[in-house]
Symmetry: C2
Subunit: 221 residues, 2 copies
DNA sequence: CCCGTATATTACCCACGAGTAATAAGAAGT
DNA sequence: ACTTCTTATTACTCGTGGGTAATATACGGG
């Protein structure tokens, strides 16, 4: 069925490695199922029995992979967070104007929000995490917010974005994007990609300092 | 202290009325305390014992005013909803371009979001309501969303707003506004009014079809 | 002054679901 | 085949908190 047990491979670690991989796959399967159920029914209404049932196992089996329900919640959150942070890292590695970076981040973040793990960043209540994990989550949120703000103010500096209140502008953009996590449906009329590219244009529409926009500003001034 | 017991009033219904009013005030006090606690700790972490404690009463006393915890939640939601719907009614009663109506709604909605009851529209999980109340909440959300869409498409028709994807534009605006409910703090640097007026301008900035904007559109075309 | 109603309290119930033994089954290695 | 480690199951505990029954107290009206 698959190449998970390549008996032809003589390496004595291979069987071990393959078992580890199977384990990780199961862990991921749990997370995927859990996040779906959490999103469908809400974290508290969703029970671990329910999660287990969907996986055709029983609740205690889950405890081979996770220590507690809130740990599952946290790891769902973490996967969504990771994806966004990877996106930020990629943007930071490249170059471009503040505006182009901002657009990339908007696009990446929008795509994230259209996924289950991404939506968990905004659909779950941070109070359901342990105190320690709440701190981690807050720090993560901060880093993302900071990235947005950095790109905006960078854009203002390099002239690609017209002067604006960085904080409020960021809030407005992030808000629009977060909302995707609440209304997006995979079976809807709009694909995630379409939304992402639309938003990356639309949300920066009034922000870009084009030649034409410059003219207007000067006219007004 | 107050005129709640006007013994000078001969009307036999007056005492009754005054007691009703006291009752309603207590009901409201419960809701105010409850919504605060729900927002602080999350609906599930917050207990009715906790709510009662803050009011210097005990849990069963709450059941003189509400049938269940989720009824309290619902009424908090309803108060926030009502406020927005009042705003919509007011706008619909007056006249103006689609753009000016949209700006009024943005302003009103932003102000709402900066209040506890308004924030409850977006901070609480609809799954914590009864099936019946979920339907009511969904219908309410729909009405608000529809108002936004109506004003936008009205604006496009009357020429105050430049042609755009009504649905996505609305989502973007509503998203920005809803996000206020998550980050606004009463003791923060920005007042609710400042945010509301800022957003009413900023969110419609790229939307308004000014003469200058018209020129750009024609240039591009 | 007494009665009836509204409103509060104390003391309880109990459903629910997270988490935990105790234990069985299955595969890997020898 | 025997052992061992992993992974799963059955059957259970138990804390929590929403909700209730019985009851006390305050207050306005006759």
């Amino acid at each position: 069925m698959d190449a998970r047990h390549p008996s032809s491979d003589p390496s004595p670690w291979m069987p071990f490695a393959s078992r580890r991989r199977a384990r990780d796959e199961k862990r991921e399967a749990v997370l995927r199922t859990a996040v779906q159920l959490f999103l469908e029914q809400g974290y508290h209404r969703a029970t671990l029995n329910g999660v287990a049932e969907r996986l055709n196992i029983t609740k205690p089996a889950l405890y081979n992979y996770f220590r507690s329900k809130d740990e599952i919640l946290f790891e769902c959150w973490a996967l969504g967070q990771e994806r966004v942070e990877d996106c930020i890292a990629e943007i930071d590695a490249g170059n471009g104007t503040g505006l182009s970076k901002l657009r990339k981040l908007i696009q990446g973040y929008a795509l994230g929000m259209a996924s289950d793990f991404g939506a968990s960043l905004v659909r779950f209540n941070s109070h359901d995490l342990t105190e320690a994990n709440q701190k981690i989550a807050r720090a993560g949120k901060r880093r993302i917010d900071q990235a947005f703000r950095n790109y905006v103010s960078e854009g203002v500096k390099d002239g690609s974005i017209k002067p604006c209140d960085v904080k409020l502008t960021t809030f407005a953009i992030v808000g629009s994007l977060n909302w995707i996590g609440h209304w997006f449906k995979h079976d809807g009329a709009l694909s995630a990609e379409a939304i992402a590219s639309q938003f990356s244009v639309q949300l920066t529409d009034g922000l870009a300092k084009t030649r034409a926009a410059k003219k207007i500003t000067k006219k007004k001034a």
